[in-house]
Amino acid sequence: MFEWSEQHRQIRAMLRRFVETEVVPHREALEFGDLPPYGILRKLLQTFGVDEMAKAQFAADIEREKSGAPPKEKKVRTEFSQGAADAAAMRILPVVEISRVSPGMITAMGVSVGLTAGAIMKKGTIRQKEEFVPALLTLEKVGAWAITEPGSGSDAFGSMRASARRDGDDYILNGNKTFITNGPHADTIVFICKLDEGNAPEHRKVLTFILDGDTPGLEKSKPLRKMGLHASPTGELFLTDVRVPKYRLLGETETAPSREGAKETFANERTAVAAMALGIVERCLELCVDYAKTRVQFGKPIGDFQLIQLKLAKMEVARMNIQNLVLRQVELAGWGKSMDLAEASACKLYCAQSAMEVCLEAVQLFGGNGYMSEYQVEQLCRDAKVMQIYGGTDEIQISQIARALLAR
């Protein structure tokens, strides 16, 4: 049986203490006051030395690349490495613990540190990595990763309108992006568009640019009003004839394959949803068990009613399943492996759906209080919904799982 180790439990306890003292007191401001989450997140990274760990890892990777050595291959191990498993656990546990209170904060951090810095690390030149990545890893700069447009979501590449035109040694960029996490505060934006060579959009090559948030011609919207995930500012980006030199082109060449590597990025993003779901479900369950024991109706605690017991039991089943999927990621890492895309899609689909079910049942269990923001389950419920939409909708996960099955 693979379990959280004593050390993992200690880390969780520490993170929980941080969340209690640094996040919980700001919940109102994060939820209803547009307080950007970055200050608290920076403090988190500093307090736990994550920023220095990331910088050290970055320095080692760059050193390796400069020496001309091939990038470190993920190698499957013949023996289980607790160190590798622990390293994975250290990435996962903060996601679980923070999601108990604020899934939005994790989204904001993940997009900056994971998606944006990750995209540059994967395909950027050494110069681009050195210039843009370290500040993103420490959240000194806020990163955004922009692919979605008003007219293109699930079919992100197919119906993409955003464009780049060559103009001498420069490029001229145009287009609108929407639903961009961190967009309103972004300092560094990874902007995905298509090279317009006068050809039809469906035949255009995909290019990616790295933009500064204050580039002339780039406009950032205010945070959009949304159903939940308020701790993660989401916005629109408008580009009108934005002129950039060639060195802003990710990889500094038009021939770098832009869709490649996307699979691994998607897989990482999807597995992270499992850790978020675990935090949300654990919290809902705790709140519900507590409420079931203390809320008295018809002369007894509502936990005495079988219909309430059924809700609790189902929540526990979901919690166990989600936790097993999270632990599986930790265990795989110990063997030098990770979930492939189809597996990660299945994992995300299950975790997002069951977290949503748990949250809805939690609201129901709390009755009128469940509908009131004071009791937190309604927030988790609104926040959880996004996991079925971003990072590929449930429907898209289903089609990718099926595609992999049918290709066997």
Partner: protein
């Protein structure tokens, strides 16, 4: 400065598995409990770290902080956590929990202090399980060291410490010369409670005990952790404290409603005998 910090694990009161007392009342059932460090010991460790650093650069230790615990192998978890937080070295004195009492721990600590020769033994004022509040005092007596208890503030000076101790109506300041034994109270982790000679007087710590950084948690696995046999420290392992029985606190009775002020006064006088 070299500081020895004794740590004890105690049952985590927030955990679902609570301490149980079997019907006989002869012992306390400890199986299935989850443990955490005694909070006052954590404060002592935090204070020890503050005394051995410049608050601005807490990663550099000026001196040495050694942590020690008494207990079975599992208690090494408590020591590893302390190493991750910043202690340099750890010692586990191998012993069974139920074969220890405050006096024996103090006697064994005395032998350890003679071996390790720290400038300061910094301890929690008491463990929150037995609430005995005695090991520090017995140890100081046995060593014939100067002692300050319930420290709320500490300021390092050449060859010793100025220790502030809150009492009714004010603060007593004690000057202790090294080597010494000091036990700490909870205010010792307030932002301006502890100053080493390196830390600027204007510096303010975060309130409470510090967090261990994740890389430090990994690195703590490689820090030295020695095991010492209790017999090597205490030839006489006899216990001076015998427990005659344990009892859970009585369940709280439901309150009553009083009719009016007269009724209240009457009941306070005749039933509660408080007036």
């Amino acid at each position: 400065m070299k500081i020895l910090v004794p740590l004890k694990r105690v049952a985590d009161p927030d955990n679902a598995n609570k301490v149980k007392i079997p019907a006989s009342g002869a012992t306390i059932e400890t199986t299935g409990l989850e443990w955490k460090p005694n909070p006052f010991d954590e404060y002592a460790l935090e204070a020890a770290l503050r005394l051995t650093e410049d608050g601005k650069a807490p990663k550099v230790r000026a001196g040495e902080v050694v942590v020690v615990t008494f207990g079975p192998k599992e208690t090494e978890t408590t020591l590893r956590a302390a190493l991750a937080t910043g202690a340099d070295r750890a010692i586990r004195v191998d012993a069974a929990d139920d074969k220890l009492d405050g006096h024996l721990v103090a006697r064994a600590l005395k032998a350890l202090v003679e071996r390790e020769k720290p400038d300061l033994v910094l301890m929690g004022k008491q463990a929150v399980d037995g609430d005995s509040n005695q090991v520090g005092q017995i140890l100081a007596e046995q060593l014939d060291y100067p002692m300050a208890t319930f420290a709320a503030t500490m300021k390092e000076e050449a060859g010793g410490l100025l220790v502030g101790r809150e009492v009714d109506g004010g603060v007593i300041t004690l000057r202790v010369k090294f080597p010494a034994v000091v036990t700490v109270d909870l205010r010792i982790v307030a932002p301006t409670s502890v100053y080493s000679m390196k830390t600027a007087p204007a510096f303010k710590y975060n309130d409470g005990v510090r967090f261990a950084a994740l890389p430090a948690i990994m690195a703590a696995k490689k820090k030295p952790l020695a095991e010492v046999k209790l017999a090597d420290l205490a030839a006489d392992q006899g216990l001076r404290v015998t427990y005659h029985g344990f009892q859970a606190p009585p369940a709280r009775k439901a309150g009553i409603k009083v009719k009016d002020v007269t009724d209240l006064v009457n009941r306070l006088k005749n039933e509660a005998k408080a007036l």
